[in-house]
């Protein structure tokens, strides 16, 4: 595979400059922080409550911003320019995901601090959040590639936000409910499970199930985004 650090860096810097001058989209990153501050003040102390602002960050910042960045490239006819340049699919997708990945990392870390969540196994949680970020980034890329404008992308991410952010709340319906079985395999639910086990100092072998499910979702979403991206290099 043709990978160029210089090209990835160039796309990252371009996105950073564009994003920092786009006040409408860049202000979105503040919302999860406000929510985390609120939850922190309320004094929530369950993993479910800790992870609500974190899952909101993943859908609202990661998926939404990524979808908007990709959709804007399509709307302005700049994505085809990138595709026609010597940059490879990997250079473009990685370069275009790097800004949101780093931004998500910072917001998640600050949110954890604001809600008062102190992971006992910090590496496990960091790894799970990194994997989840990659999944939500791929979802954002898919939404952006499917839509033609920022407006369309903003609408396309709504189901993602509802299903993945608020899906875990359906667990309260009880194990016998059909929704429970569906919601149980969502990456956001598994992220909470993993955090609960981790806070209970579970052995790594007990975490493999949750990690596997999140990894499978991530790999699937990345594969779809790459296929879709390659399809978009052509008109038909």
């Amino acid at each position: 595979m043709n990978i160029s650090v210089k090209r990835i860096q160039a796309i990252f810097m371009k996105d950073y400059k564009e994003f920092s001058r786009n006040y409408v989209i860049s202000s979105v990153v503040l919302m999860p922080l406000v929510l985390a501050l609120f939850y922190g003040r309320v004094g929530s102390n369950s993993i479910d409550m800790y992870f609500l602002p974190l899952n909101i960050t993943l859908s609202m910042v990661t998926t939404y911003v990524q979808a908007c960045l990709i959709a804007e490239e399509k709307e302005r006819n700049t994505l085809r320019g990138l595709m026609m340049s010597p940059a490879s699919t990997f250079d473009i997708l990685f370069g275009k995901s790097l800004l949101v990945f780093l931004m998500t990392g910072i917001i998640l870390a600050v949110s954890c601090y604001l809600v008062g969540f102190a992971p006992k196994q910090i590496i496990v949680i960091a790894l799970a959040l990194a994997l989840s970020t990659a999944f939500y980034l791929a979802l954002g890329t898919i939404c952006g590639l499917f839509t033609k404008s920022i407006m369309e992308a903003s609408l396309a991410v709504l189901p993602v936000m509802i299903i993945f952010t608020f899906g875990p709340l359906a667990l309260a319906l009880g194990e016998d409910h059909l929704l429970y079985k569906i919601v149980e395999v969502l990456p956001s639910t598994q992220l909470i499970r993993l955090a609960e086990l981790s806070q209970a100092n579970a052995a790594f072998t007990e975490l493999i199930g949750a990690f596997s499910i999140i990894t499978a979702w991530t790999a699937g979403a990345i594969a779809i985004s790459v296929v879709l991206f390659n399809k978009r290099t052509k008109d038909l």
């Binding site: 160039a10 302005r76 026609m84 340049s85």
Partner: protein, 281 residues
């Protein structure tokens, strides 16, 4: 001379609609080839096929001796530059920042940004944000980006459509300079004067078919009625045809010092297009 582009019996169908019907032409290295036709005649479709943005439904297309479908491979992407309606710019970035991105994507030294800015006469405006530019200036930035990596082959889809005559002239001079350095140019345009000024050969495309292909001079000779108009001192205009009768008449007027003006009735490329296709550009 080596053919850079070879197109044989190219067909393109969108469902039942035929956008291109058995289009054939070849372009030699160092040539400026004009692809002329009205909107919807298939010019942009042809460019998209040659640059692997579209898969044709029939015929053969090779670029640099390879199938056109290979043009989206990494090593081939530096061999050509493309300017089209779909060439967008980053609106919140300055002209310089837009060019900087592409200089990095093509692995070029920063000095190429200067050269590209000089080419389109935008050195003084380099710090301006793209969203503050006129359409013509944006077109010049896209052109600067297209030629920045000095590709041996340029696809220019209506490059001066949004430019005023002064800036269009500036671009013509630049394109001639690039061509002198060996760049092959595939140019689509509505502007027949532009085609006549720049192109070594032109093809007339109408409803997906090539109706004529030759040098502008050869086409003019072919479609000329070999006449010229003589304006006499009293304001009368007479069309004089090549031949003995015309020569005698002209001689009489000249002996009597009655000729005020004489000019050729040679058709323009636009006239020829209308004559061939029966429709305007």
């Amino acid at each position: 001379m080596t053919a850079i582009i070879e197109v044989q019996n190219l067909q393109m169908k969108y469902g039942k609609e035929e956008a291109l019907k058995n289009v054939s032409f070849s372009i030699r290295k160092g040539e400026i080839f004009g692809f002329l036709g009205p909107s919807g005649s298939g010019k942009t479709t042809t460019i998209k096929i040659m640059t692997a943005q579209l898969t044709h439904t029939g015929g053969q297309v090779s670029v640099f001796g390879q199938p056109a479908s290979e043009m989206n491979k990494g090593h081939n992407k530096s061999k050509f530059g493309i300017l089209s309606d779909n060439s967008g710019l980053y609106q919140r970035l300055s002209i310089e920042e837009n060019l900087l991105l592409y200089s990095q994507l093509y692995n070029l030294p920063k000095s190429t940004i200067e050269e590209a800015l000089a080419f389109v006469n935008l050195q003084k405006d380099r710090k301006k944000k793209v969203n503050q530019l006129s359409k013509g200036m944006m077109q010049r930035v896209v052109l600067a980006r297209t030629i920045m990596h000095k590709p041996p082959l340029l696809f220019l889809d209506e490059p001066t459509s949004a430019l005023d005559p002064v800036n269009a002239q500036h671009i013509y001079n630049g394109l001639r300079k690039l061509n002198e350095l060996g760049t092959t140019i595939f140019l689509t345009t509505h502007n027949m004067e532009e085609a006549e000024l720049l192109c070594n050969r032109v093809a007339f495309l109408h409803k997906g078919e090539i109706r004529e292909i030759d040098t502008p001079l050869a086409l003019k000779k072919k479609y000329s009625d070999h006449s010229f108009t003589v304006e006499l001192e009293n304001g009368e205009n007479h069309v004089v045809y090549n031949g003995e009768q015309g020569a005698v008449q002209l001689m009489e007027w000249m002996k009597a010092k009655r000729v005020s003006r004489m000019y050729s009735n040679e058709p323009t490329l636009g006239d020829i297009f209308v004559q061939i296709t029966g429709s305007d550009l």
